[in-house]
Each structure stands twice: as structure tokens, then as C-alpha cells.
């Protein structure tokens, strides 16, 4: 199978993730969309690794997974504590960072 198709799939997944981040309000869903974007990137890296015949992309994919795992831990903790304090998981409710 042509590896370019993987790139198309990666682009499609990234676009879906980005749209989700932009339009959804639920913090959990936004978070999942970010994961989707990260994994789209992983897919693209692996595909490039395959296309170019070296392992760099695969190694970076592993790094990304580690970082994503750490990010999930921190991000979920923030979302839980936000929910506790506001009884809502909507990202629009946490709009205090303005003048």
C-alpha cells in the first residue's frame, strides 16, 4: 500500500482533532481531540519513517507518546480540579484570563 495514504489519513485525523478543539466546549472532549491530533502526528512520523527508510520518525513517535502520557496526567488533574471548583467542565466557563 502506498505510504502516502497514511499521510492523508494523518492529515484527516489532525483536521478532525483541530476542529474538535476549536468548536467543542467540554474540556474532556477538547482534551481527547488534542490526543487525536498528537496521534495524527505520530502516524505521520511513522509514515515518514517508513518512506525515508530510517528510524528517526519512530523514535520521535515514542517520545511523543511519553509526553502525551505525561500531559494526560497533568491535564486530567487540571480538568478534575476545575470541575470540582466550578461544577462544570466547560472550557468557556474558565475564562478568567482577560482584562
Amino acid at each position: 500500500m502506498n505510504p502516502v495514504n497514511y499521510l492523508y489519513l494523518a492529515a484527516l485525523l489532525f483536521a478532525i482533532g483541530a476542529t474538535g478543539v476549536l468548536i467543542r466546549r467540554n474540556a474532556i472532549v477538547v482534551f481527547m481531540c488534542i490526543e487525536l491530533m498528537l496521534n495524527a502526528c505520530n502516524l505521520a512520523f511513522v509514515a515518514f519513517s517508513r518512506m525515508h527508510g530510517n528510524l528517526d520518525g519512530q523514535i520521535i513517535a515514542f517520545f511523543t507518546m511519553v509526553v502525551a502520557a505525561a500531559e494526560v496526567v497533568v491535564g486530567l488533574a487540571i480538568i478534575v480540579s476545575l470541575f470540582r471548583s466550578r461544577h462544570s467542565a466547560s472550557v468557556d466557563d474558565a475564562s478568567l484570563m482577560k482584562l
Partner: protein
């Protein structure tokens, strides 16, 4: 001998320091101390004079170098004195009349609580004035010049509790500052032109200097002289200066300080000799002021203000003579000295009258005082005869010479200046006769004042009458002593130089004309004030009279042209500042504020909106990168 010169200045300066810093302890004896130190200065002056007379004309100039004031590379300012015949004349006049007026003030200021301070100021004035005439360079002269300005300010405003006196002092100071600017500019010009401002080098170097530069320096010196000597256009302060105590008016605003301008011009004669245009302006200023002061003097009912107008007019004569160049310098100084005698005497007489009349100054409320104040009447009368130029008295000799010199200027100018001087002599006779008739002759017109105190005219104490008598002697004999045999001319000629002018009219004709106009002036005044009763309230008078009562609208002119003009200028500057300068600054601020207000709205706190910016930015960057690659 030359070591004594500094003593002339030091004595009154010491007096001023002790009296002004000494405090109340000196209240009882302060006036005697001040008078004694003034007299000491006079005694030193007489000693120096006697010594000077014993020498030949060539060796008479003494100089004393005290110390280097500002020893800077290429700029040498010394505190050094120079005593020549011109300075000697002034020193004798200043210390002599000054001492007499100190004595007079003992009586005049007897009831004033601040008499010690008054004498301190008088001594300060003497020191500054002597410094002015003794300095051997223009910078030190400037120190004295400012010093007399300060003393004049302090003394005009001596009764500072009267708002009119405080205002008059401020006015005198401000108007004088305008003239002082002229002197400082002249000194700066001298320094750039000659590289020095000592009299000797400057006056010797005038021969090799361009006429333009000399004219500029001359005109600036004239401006200075106008300020100090109350000449048009800086004359407006002198009338108001009569708010000061009468001895001050006599000493400072008649006999000495106001003649400093004449001294300056005569001292700088070499500069003016090289600048005929500047000389012409000097004569014009003198001629205009001569008539101006005389006309003002005719209309004033305040005895001191009438005399102030007369002072202005007489100094106009001196400035006119000084502007004539070498044919007039000697006569300017001669008139200055005789004027110093008779005008000081007249002012002291006026002070004596006021002293006896509860400080009333309106001549229309005097009348018939000759019976009550015989000494004042006689001394004032002699001063009167001297100032109008009655043949044989002081004013006759000096004024006649000036009129003759004015005619001798030659050409149309000579005729115009001579005629103006003659006309001035007629008006002088008129207004002085008026003062005399209103004060000492006719019916008594005084009435009780608002509180019911009727004045009891009486003769003044000895301390006041003796100086008047001495000055009256000067008024009578000084002119003859100086004029007969050209004594004064020979005395002063080595310093100022002299050239005999060729008058189109013979000396006898000029003398005849002078006496003729004098009689006309006296007759006119007699017809108007001597025959019938004089109204106590002044009649409305003609347009000219009313204008002259307001000093020929000088203050109105200054107000409209200078004050209003200045106000308009500052207002327009404020307007420009508010609209243009502030507009630019505030506009920039407002634009920035508005812009950031809009930008602020981007910071809405919604994480999603920040994400949009991030994605948008990333998209733009990627698009740009791709585009660049494609190109």
C-alpha cells in the same frame, strides 16, 4: 594719594553694612553714624580734590588697583578705580549733596520708626553711586549701576505699606532693567569688539573700529542712559518715583542717580564721536525728553511731580548737550552740577513745605506760604531763579551754553535743536513760576483734612534749613564760578576734550533770546496764576493739559503697546501650546489608547479563541513557507 580713592566708596559702604545689619541697638545713633560716614567720604573727596588742583593737568588722573576680580585667560576684570577730573566732579557733587541730604534727612525722617534703615539705604546708594563714577572699567561701572538701581528701588518703596509706593518701586526697577539690558549688551559688544572693557583701552581703540560697531555700542549705551536718566522712551518711572521720601527724590531722583546716564555718555565720548548717527539719536532723545518733561511739569498739581517733570526736562538738556559731541560734553556736565545744586535745593524746599503742611502735596492747597516759611521761601526762590536761568544765577550760565552749543551744531539740525532748547527754556520759566506762585504767593487755600486737622504751616528745624541754605548758595554762585572765565571748561577739557562750535547766532543774540523767552514764560505764568484767585480743584483743562496730567499718556501707551501686546503674545503662545503642542501629545496618547482598547478585546479569556489564533498563525506560516518554496 591714590590709596585714598577706595576710602570714598568704603566709608558709606561700611555705614550701610553696619546700619542694615546692626539691628535696633543702633536706632538711636544710626542716623548720626550714616551722616558721619557720608561726611567722611566728602572730606576724603575734598582732600583728593585739593591734591589734584596742585598738579598739572596731565598728571591729574589717579588710579588704584584693588584686586583682580575675575582673572580668567583672555578675560580680565579688575576692581580698580580711576579718578580723573570728570570723576572728581561727580565725586564732589555726590558726596557733597549726599552729605547735605543726610543732614536734612535727620530732621525730615525724625518721626519715622525706620529711620536707621533709611540711612542705611542712603549710605548704600552713596557707595554704589561713587563706585559707578570711580570705576575704571565698564564691568565695575555696571556693578555700581545695578547698585544704585537697587538703592533707588529700596528708597522709592521705603514706605512700602503704601501700595502706591510699593508699585512705584517695582515700576522703577522694571523700567530700569530694560535700560540695564542695554548696558549689559553694550559691555558684551565691547568685549567682542575690543577684547576688554577697561575705559582706557576701549576708548583708545575706537579710532580703528568700524562705524557700524560703534553705532551699535553707542545706541545700547543710550538705551542704558535712557533707563537710568528717565529719558523718552523709558521715562515713565520717574514721576511715580516721587512716592519715596522727599530727601530721596532730591538726592537720587534729581541730583545724582538720574544723571548717571549723562555720565555714561560723556565717559564714552570717544565711542559716540566715532558714531555720528548714534549721536544724532542721542540729541533727538534729549530734545524730545526736554519738551516732554517740561510739558508734564506744566500740568501737575503735585509739587513733587511738577519738579520731577522738570528734572526729566533738565536731564534732557544734558543728554542733548552730550549728544552734540565735543562741543557739548563740558556743558552737559556743567549743567549737571548746577542742576544738582538747584534741583536738590528745590526738592528739599518742597519737602520742607510738605513737612509744614501735613504732607500735603497738592499745590492748589498751598498758597501764601512765604509768610509762614521765610527760609524755605528764600532758598526755594533762589533755586527757582537758578533753574529758569535768571541772569547771573547758576542755571543761566549752564543752560545758555547748552542752547548756544545746540545752535552751533550747524545746519538744519542745529536750528531745530537750538529752537527746541529755547522753547524748553520758555516752558521751564512758565512751570517753575507756576510752582512758585501756587506755593508761596496768593491767598492761603489750605483747609482741614478729613479728620479735621488744619495744617499749621511752620518753618522746618535747623537740620533741614541749613542744607537748603547751603544748596541755595550753590544755586546762586556755582554757575558764575564755573562759567566766568571758562573755569569749568579748562578743568574738564583734558578728559572730555572740547571743540568750539561756530554758532550761526552770536553769543549775545543767544543770551538775549534766552532771557527774552524766559520773560515770556514768567509773564504767561503770572497772567494765569498771579493775578486772580486760583481754584482749589483743578479745572478740566484743555486736551493737552489733561494729557499732560496723565504724563502725556505714557502709561497708557506702555499699557496698550507693551502690556497688551505682551498679553496677546503670551495668550497666542498659550493657545499654540494648548492646541498644537498638547494636540500632538494628547493625540498620540489618545490614538494609542484607542488602538489598545480595540486590541484588548482580543484577550477574551476563551481558550478556544486563543487556539484559533494559534491555528490561524500556524496555517499562515505554513502557507507562507510553501509559497516561498514554490517560488
Amino acid at each position: 594719594m591714590e590709596n585714598l580713592i577706595a576710602l570714598l566708596v568704603a566709608a558709606p559702604l561700611l555705614g550701610a553694612a553696619v546700619l542694615l545689619c546692626g539691628g535696633r541697638a543702633l536706632d538711636r545713633a544710626g542716623h548720626w553714624l550714616g551722616t558721619l560716614l557720608a561726611a567722611a567720604s566728602f572730606v576724603v573727596a575734598v582732600v583728593l580734590f585739593a591734591d589734584m588742583l596742585g598738579k598739572g593737568a596731565e598728571e591729574r588722573t589717579l588710579s588704584q588697583h584693588l584686586f583682580s576680580w575675575l582673572p580668567v585667560e583672555g578675560f580680565q576684570a579688575d576692581v580698580a578705580f580711576q579718578l580723573d577730573q570728570l570723576s572728581m566732579t561727580f565725586v564732589l557733587l555726590i558726596s557733597g549733596v549726599g552729605t547735605l541730604i543726610h543732614v536734612y534727612s535727620i530732621g525730615y525722617m525724625e518721626h519715622d520708626e525706620r529711620r536707621r534703615r533709611f540711612f542705611g539705604y542712603l549710605n548704600l546708594f552713596l557707595a554704589a553711586m561713587l563706585l559707578l563714577v570711580l570705576a575704571d572699567n565698564y564691568l565695575l561701572l555696571y556693578v555700581g549701576w545695578e547698585g544704585v538701581g537697587l538703592a533707588s528701588y529700596l528708597l522709592i518703596g521705603f514706605w512700602q505699606h503704601k501700595p502706591s509706593a510699593a508699585t512705584a518701586a517695582k515700576k522703577a526697577f522694571l523700567v530700569n532693567r530694560v535700560g540695564d539690558m542695554g548696558l549689559s549688551i553694550a559691555i558684551m559688544l565691547m568685549f567682542t569688539t575690543f577684547g576688554t572693557f577697561a575705559f582706557g583701552p576701549v576708548l583708545e581703540a575706537t579710532g580703528e573700529t568700524s562705524e557700524g560697531k560703534l553705532t551699535a555700542i553707542g545706541l545700547m549705551l543710550l538705551l542704558a542712559a535712557c533707563g537710568k536718566s528717565a529719558q523718552v522712551p523709558l521715562q515713565s518711572w520717574l514721576g511715580d518715583a516721587m512716592e519715596g521720601p522727599t530727601p530721596v527724590s532730591a538726592l537720587i531722583h534729581a541730583a545724582t542717580m538720574v544723571t548717571a546716564g549723562v555720565y555714561l555718555i560723556v565717559r564714552s565720548g570717544a565711542i559716540f564721536n566715532g558714531a555720528p548717527e548714534a549721536q544724532l539719536v542721542v540729541t533727538i532723545v534729549g530734545a524730545v525728553t526736554l519738551l516732554f518733561g517740561a510739558i508734564v511739569g506744566c500740568a501737575k498739581d503735585d509739587i513733587k511731580k511738577a519738579l520731577a517733570g522738570s528734572t526729566m526736562s533738565q536731564i534732557g538738556y544734558m543728554i542733548l548737550a552730550a549728544g552734540l559731541g565735543p562741543i557739548g560734553y563740558v556743558f552737559a556736565i556743567m549743567h549737571l552740577v548746577t542742576h544738582g545744586f538747584f534741583k536738590a535745593g528745590l526738592f528739599l524746599g518742597a519737602g520742607s513745605v510738605m513737612h509744614g503742611m501735613n504732607d500735603e502735596v497738592d499745590m492748589r492747597k498751598y498758597g501764601g506760604l512765604r509768610k509762614y516759611m521765610p527760609v524755605t521761601f528764600v532758598t526755594f526762590g533762589l533755586g527757582y531763579l537758578a533753574i529758569i536761568g535768571f541772569p547771573g544765577l547758576s542755571g543761566f550760565f549752564s543752560k545758555d551754553k547748552i542752547i548756544e552749543a545746540a545752535f552751533a551744531k550747524g545746519g538744519t539740525e542745529g536750528w531745530i535743536l537750538g529752537s527746541v532748547a529755547l522753547l524748553g527754556a520758555a516752558i521751564t520759566a512758565y512751570y517753575m513760576t507756576r510752582v512758585m506762585l501756587l506755593t508761596f504767593f496768593g491767598e492761603k487755600r489750605w483747609q482741614p483734612d478729613a479728620e479735621g486737622h488744619a495744617p499749621h504751616p511752620h518753618e522746618s528745624p535747623k537740620t533741614m534749613t541749613i542744607p537748603m541754605i547751603v544748596l541755595a548758595f550753590g544755586s546762586v554762585f556755582a554757575g558764575g564760578f564755573f562759567g566766568i572765565g571758562d573755569r569749568f571748561l579748562h578743568w574738564l577739557e583734558p578728559v572730555t576734550g572740547h571743540k568750539h562750535g561756530h554758532s550761526p547766532l552770536s553769543a549775545a543774540t543767544v543770551t538775549g533770546a534766552t532771557v527774552g523767552v524766559l520773560l515770556i514764560g514768567v509773564a504767561l505764568a503770572y497772567l494765569q496764576y498771579g493775578r486772580g484767585p486760583v481754584p482749589v480743584t483743578a479745572p478740566r483743562g484743555s486736551l493737552l493739559t489733561r494729557a499732560a496730567r496723565r504724563d502725556l499718556l505714557q502709561d497708557d501707551f506702555n499699557h496698550v503697546v507693551l502690556v497688551r501686546g505682551g498679553e496677546h503674545l503670551t495668550r497666542s503662545l498659550v493657545y499654540v501650546d494648548h492646541t498644537l503642542v498638547d494636540g500632538v501629545v494628547n493625540g498620540t496618547a489618545a490614538t494609542m489608547g484607542g488602538l489598545s482598547g480595540r486590541l484588548r478585546k482580543l484577550q477574551n479569556g476563551y481558550a478556544r479563541s486563543y487556539a484559533v489564533s494559534m491555528f490561524g498563525g500556524a496555517a499562515v506560516l505554513i502557507a507562507a513557507t510553501l509559497l516561498m518554496r514554490a517560488v
